[in-house]
């Protein structure tokens, strides 16, 4: 029973991270119809930035978000206007190939810059605390709280702000949005900026919990696809739900598959993905097509 509640808690904490990790991927897909296979690489860049800031300037990974978010927003914005705008609204295969190329290039760029030695961010509060007989790792608990906070603010932003409404309009009907005077390219660039910044932030928050290396990206990209298939496209509640489901599943596999379970995260997620797609090609929540960024 203890093992069960511990697994559940660990799974939910991991799921919170997955939810924040997937958001950028899911919104880019939902709004622009671009399946970003370089998603994991932006996460990796965020993690390396956090590591660099921690290692050379002693900035705490969570504090470094204040720097990483605007920086990566700029990166996303520029990437969108130079490259991705060329492939937006083009068939999926083209976006897949281009982002696949970007992913390979970024991973190998990171290998050149940072070498393939794994890096660690050893924060002082890497311990854990007990509550009701269950162990809570401090960092992961903070990530979970931060994830909820960020998702809440993004939700508010998309629902309330004028820009957020433009993004939702662009996701729903590009032509109509253009007719009523939405500057689509600018909206896309801002969307990409937000998404890339969020993804990098997820990477930065991840940095204290696992080793950072250039080729850490692809598993996250795949998990992002799985979560999107689970929770639907571009929806914040869907991302949260999908993330939690995957997180709990993964931890349960790790807990109850003796010996090798801990290292089967991608395999688990892959099997889940193929099952979902074969049984329900439209995704579990029926949303694997560009839908409203904020349907619920």
């Amino acid at each position: 029973m203890d093992q069960l509640s511990q697994a559940l808690v660990s799974g939910l904490l991991l799921g919170g991270f997955y939810a924040i990790m997937v958001l950028g991927f899911s919104v880019i897909w939902g709004v622009m119809g671009v399946i970003n296979l370089a998603h994991g690489e932006f996460l990796m860049i965020g993690a390396y930035l956090a590591w660099g800031l921690f290692r050379f300037f002693g900035i705490d990974p969570f504090a470094s978000l204040a720097l990483i978010l605007p920086l990566m927003f700029l990166v996303g914005y520029l990437l969108q206007i130079t490259l991705i705008n060329r492939i937006v609204e083009r068939p999926h295969l083209m976006t897949l190939l281009v982002t696949f190329g970007v992913s390979i290039a970024l991973a190998n760029l990171a290998k050149i810059v940072f070498t393939s030695d794994p890096r660690n961010v050893a924060v002082a509060y890497s311990g854990s605390f007990q509550f009701a007989g269950v162990t809570f790792p401090i960092v992961k608990t903070i990530i979970f709280a931060a994830a909820l906070l960020i998702m809440g603010s993004l939700h508010l932003f998309l629902q309330r702000s004028r820009l957020g409404k433009s993004i939702r309009a662009a996701a729903q009907n590009k032509t109509a949005a253009r007719i009523v005077g939405v500057d689509i390219n600018r909206v896309y660039a801002i969307t990409a900026g937000i998404c890339i910044a969020l993804t990098a932030a997820a990477g930065a928050m991840l940095s204290p919990t696992q080793a950072i290396f250039p080729f850490m990206g692809p598993p996250f990209t795949l998990k992002a696809v799985t979560i999107t298939a689970l929770g639907g496209l571009g929806r914040i509640p869907g991302a949260l739900m999908g993330g939690l489901v995957l997180g709990v599943t993964e931890i349960f596999v790790a807990t109850y598959v003796a010996g090798i379970g801990t290292n089967l995260g991608v395999a688990t997620s892959f099997i889940l993905l193929v099952l979902i797609l074969v049984v329900r090609p439209q995704g579990l929540m029926g949303g694997l097509r560009p839908v409203d960024a904020e349907a619920d």
Binding site: H92, F100, F270
Partner: protein, 352 residues
């Protein structure tokens, strides 16, 4: 957002006149017996090449190019002809490599006696084909980008599974094969495999089977409705492509004498296959081999001049090819059998 597929763009794509109309007869000749004859002549010349007293390095380079050509042609069968763009084809390479290593070392599973290279080589191909059957049954039901992503997932998941299954695969440490240096033997073996594979693709392309694959690429529902057992044909093409990829993987493991999960189950190897086929011309017989040679030369150029940057450059190159040369070399020269990437793309379209 769910705008109709760009039908007008489609029209442009197909309505566009070939840029080099004078080359059309050449293309139609190359698809026929003349093409095969030229190919056999080239094979003969390549077979005589070692007799000119070349260095062992030249032989190594030769066998490496043959490996690439074989891989590109194989990928083209499923990705170019059948239109299922496989982002994880390297998984069959990896399976072949591991089966070879496990069988010839015999150690992990205590298979005894250990298998010889000649028994293990077909076994690695067969294992890859069997794996393709298992994986293909669910994944080939997926369409367009979902198939691509599912195959990428297969690749990454297999890397993980192989790393975890230490008792059988040696885990992350990898496996060492008995070092046998036989450059001339490697050269001829790969030459034979390459000759076989490319000739087979030529044969398939002319046969009704090959035409049915192209029909599946162009319109799967239509093909099914006109009596083609699309599932069977897709699986068959997938298994053939996997079989030879597995053989090449097995050969590579033998030649390299060391394998580990990160060395064989790598995305870059898939990227290479995709790029070589695309650069040469998807769905053509001679495009992928041409693309393979071009990529090899390009890579070597990059390798010697930029060293560490070459994989980075590979990624950038992929982006550039997709954006600026989507029809490949042969397509750009007006080969009609080449499917432009644009066609394939339009078919995948946004209408899921």
């Amino acid at each position: 957002m769910t705008t109709a597929p760009p039908a007008d763009k489609n029209g442009n794509e197909t309505g566009k006149k070939a840029r080099f109309p004078s080359l059309a007869p050449v293309h139609s000749l190359l698809a026929g017996w003349a093409g095969l004859a030229l190919w056999l002549l080239l094979l003969l010349l390549l077979a005589l090449y070692p007799y000119t007293g070349v260095s062992s390095l030249a032989l190594l380079v030769g066998s490496q190019i043959f490996v690439l050509v074989t891989l590109a042609s194989n990928w083209n069968l499923i990705g170019g002809m059948t239109g299922y763009v496989d982002f994880g084809h390297a998984v069959f390479f990896g399976v072949g490599a591991y089966i070879m290593a496990i069988l010839v070392t015999g150690a992990p599973l205590l298979i005894s006696p250990q298998w010889g290279f000649w028994q293990a080589l077909p076994a690695s191909g067969a294992a890859a084909a069997l794996f393709a059957l298992l994986i293909g049954l669910p994944t080939l039901r997926l369409k367009g980008p979902y198939f691509s992503i599912a195959m990428l997932g297969t690749l990454v998941a297999m890397r993980e599974i192989v790393r975890v299954s230490r008792p059988i695969t040696g885990g992350g440490i990898g496996l060492n094969l008995p070092p046998v240096l036989n450059r001339i033997g490697d050269y001829y073996l790969m030459l034979a495999i390459m000759g076989l594979v490319v000739s087979l693709i030529w044969w398939i392309q002319r046969s009704e089977f090959g035409q049915s694959l192209i029909a599946i690429r162009e319109d799967e529902v239509g093909a099914e409705m006109r009596g083609i057992n699309t599932t069977l044909h897709k699986i068959a093409a997938f298994m053939i492509a996997a079989f030879f990829t597995g053989i090449v993987g097995g050969f590579w493991a033998w030649q390299n004498t060391f394998i580990d999960p990160d060395g064989v189950f790598v995305e870059t190897r898939t990227v290479e296959m995709v790029m070589m086929s695309m650069l040469g011309g998807l769905g053509t017989v001679w495009g992928p081999p041409l693309g393979a040679v071009a990529i090899y030369l390009l890579q070597n150029l990059l390798w010697s001049n930029l060293f560490e940057l070459h994989l980075l450059a590979l990624g950038v190159l992929l982006v550039l090819i997709v954006l600026f040369m989507p029809e490949g070399i042969l397509g750009t020269l007006g080969d009609r059998s080449s499917t432009s990437l644009g066609r394939l793309l339009a078919r995948f379209g946004r209408n899921r």
